[in-house]
């Protein structure tokens, strides 16, 4: 019984995580071929050599974009999560519901909605023109700014929820003890609330950062042709060039890059458990 209980999650991970990863790894070591599927199994590092020989700029750009989105999500999400956690029960459930509400519509539709908001004749530009702050519409679409807006908007709930989870569990008497010992509200935040919510910050940051690095839809729709992110490179290799081995190599490098912060965070969380 014990073995079955312990074995089940391992079996699940093996089938749905390890096996697909192994297949992608195998493809990344194969050669392209005119066949279905379009590769011939092999053991070559050619795909990685090609990758290293070309422009690797999509990686730092992806990491940078995702890192900025993570920081922005944290700055926006922390006060929201704290406010929700400090609200009384009925209102609190309503606020949590609002955080989750966007998930009830498709991501695609929500990203398209930003089109309407950011385009030259969109909501933001018309409002600014009406205010008289600007004379001509601003270029808000098809650039880095639009990608960040899209990422932060889409991933904010993934930051808020784990933060809320930690902050709502915070022992009220700890905050009272801090105040009792002479700490003003901002000091209580800095010396008690922040350090005790580090696990939530780490969890939320990972939940935003990791999918944001590989994001394809948002940069493709809002970023225009000039934005180069790994997700887009993958798409091009896979669908436009039909070079599965090269696409697999791109993916494997990304996996390797992402495992590093994950392991660091894991070690940190274990130490503070």
């Amino acid at each position: 019984m014990r073995r079955v209980l312990i074995g089940l999650p391992f079996a699940w991970l093996a089938v749905f995580f390890l096996l697909p990863l192994a297949i992608v790894a195998e493809i990344s070591l194969s050669r392209g071929a005119d066949a279905i599927p379009p590769y011939k199994l092999g053991a070559t590092l050619d795909n990685f050599r090609t990758l290293a020989g070309g422009c690797l700029c999509a990686y730092p750009e992806s990491l940078g974009t995702a890192a900025l989105a993570t920081v922005l999500c944290l700055l926006l999400g922390y006060p929201v999560a704290l406010a929700i956690a400090r609200t009384r029960a009925p209102t609190r459930h309503l606020l949590l519901f609002f955080v989750l509400l966007p998930f009830w519509t498709s991501l695609l539709i929500r990203v398209y909605a930003w089109f309407a908001i950011l385009q030259p004749t969109g909501l933001v530009n018309r409002f600014l023109l009406w205010l008289g702050v600007i004379d001509a519409p601003l270029q808000l679409l098809n650039n880095f700014f639009a990608v960040e807006v899209g990422l932060v908007y889409s991933y904010l709930p993934f930051m808020i929820l784990p933060l809320y989870g930690v902050l709502s569990q915070l022992d009220e008497s700890l905050l009272e003890a801090a105040a009792d010992l002479g700490a003003r509200p901002l000091r209580v935040l800095a010396t008690v609330i922040l350090p005790l919510s580090l696990p939530g910050i780490a969890a939320g940051s990972l939940l935003v950062f990791i999918p944001a690095v590989g994001e394809f839809v948002i940069p493709d729709l809002l970023g225009g042709p000039t934005t180069l992110m790994v997700g887009k490179v993958l798409w091009q290799e896979f669908f436009d060039n039909v070079d599965w081995p090269e696409a697999a190599a791109v993916a494997m490098v990304l996996v390797a890059l992402l495992t590093a912060p994950l392991l660091i965070a894991q070690r940190y969380l274990e130490r503070n458990a």
Binding site: L174, E176, A177, A178, A179, D180, G182, A183, R187, L196
Partner: protein, 354 residues
């Protein structure tokens, strides 16, 4: 001048009146206990003094300063929380130094003070431990050291011994009184445990339903309760309900089941015909085989509970159950079912009109 003065403080939550028009003065250097059943408003009162609750009406004055509108972080009081509320992300030294950091004490002085406090609670060598690495008793000491580190004018202790097991509770009670005498800080303890209050405090205030019922030294509270509530809540008691009658040249209490009315030594503030009660502590009840002179009730021994030094004897007397605490040697001579006479010295009975 009292170190703490509560003037007609009132606080209600919704329709519940937690503290009702309560006034209280605590003198500097006292070990003062607020005693009452759960829900009597004692914790609300403590939280108002700390600044976590604001009174709806009334003022709170500490050492001559009206602090009613002062936030908790600016009040010259510190609190030891029932759950201890130690910061789990800081070690013992960090916890004790927390309040000192807030007031900007230089590092060297801080280290010195932390060492002093650890010595006071006998926790030297535990500086680098985290709270989860400590036992319940050790956590309690750290919480006390942290609350005392800022040398508050008044230390508030919320059920300080409630989280400890019985044996440790007794030791810690002695230690708390010892520490209080050494540092001289005014201690205000909130507790629902009468043994704790009587055993530690120099003065006790009994609270019920948001109001003070009686204030006095522990012996006064126990031996001269001023109401049925205090007599019943503080310690065990045999209560005889009766009716006041005007006797030949004194006031008497007519108690059903006792043939002669009991003469009252003290004047009572009630007219004849009103109800009053006579309270006799179990250890004041005398049991004898032959009828003694004076007031006595015939009774039958129902059970004898051996408790070591003393035994608890339950008796049936008419429709009443009486309780007597006897030295175990004396109780050994009793057997269940035997008929005895229960009596008491007139000065050991207290008349209760409230």
């Amino acid at each position: 001048m009292p170190i703490l003065e509560i003037r007609e403080a009132t606080r209600s939550f919704g329709t519940t009146l937690a503290v009702a028009d309560l006034s209280l003065g605590v003198e500097a250097g006292e070990f003062f206990a607020l005693l009452g059943p759960s829900g009597c408003g004692k914790t609300t009162l403590l939280r108002m003094i700390a600044g976590f609750e604001r009174p709806d009406r009334g003022r709170i004055v500490i050492d001559g300063d009206d602090v009613t509108d002062t936030p908790p972080y600016a009040r010259p009081v510190n609190m030891m929380f029932q759950s201890y509320a130690l910061f789990p992300h800081l070690d013992v030294a960090g916890n004790i130094a927390f309040g000192l950091r807030q007031e900007g004490m230089p590092r060297a002085r801080r280290t010195e003070r932390v060492a002093e406090m650890l010595a006071l609670v006998q926790m030297q060598g535990f500086e680098r431990r985290r709270p989860h690495e400590l036992s319940g008793g050790q956590r309690q000491r750290v919480a006390l050291a942290r609350a005392l580190a800022k040398m508050p004018k008044l230390l508030l202790l919320d059920e300080p011994l409630a989280a400890l097991d019985r044996k440790l509770r007794e030791e810690t009670r002695l230690e708390l009184t010892g520490i209080q005498e050494r540092v001289g800080t005014t201690f205000l303890v909130v507790t629902h445990d009468q043994e704790e209050a009587l055993g530690m405090a120099s003065r006790v205030a009994v609270m019920n339903r948001g109001a003070l019922v009686q204030i006095g030294r522990p012996a006064e509270i126990y031996e001269r309760p001023n109401s049925r509530f205090v007599a019943d809540f503080v310690g065990a008691v045999n209560m005889f309900e009766g009716e006041i009658v005007a006797g030949f040249n004194e006031i008497e209490l007519k108690i059903p089941g006792i043939e002669r009315p009991v003469p009252l030594d003290e004047p009572v503030d009630l007219p004849a015909g009103e109800g009053a009660a006579l309270a006799v502590r179990p250890e004041k009840l005398r049991l004898s085989e032959t009828r003694p002179a004076g007031i006595a009730l015939p009774a039958t021994v129902v059970s004898i509970g051996y408790q070591g030094g003393q035994s608890i004897v339950h008796l049936a007397a008419g429709g009443r159950t009486l309780r007597a605490h006897l030295p175990s040697e004396a109780a050994r001579e009793l057997i269940r079912g035997v008929a005895v006479w229960a009596s008491w010295e007139p000065e050991d009975a207290v008349v209760l009109t409230r």
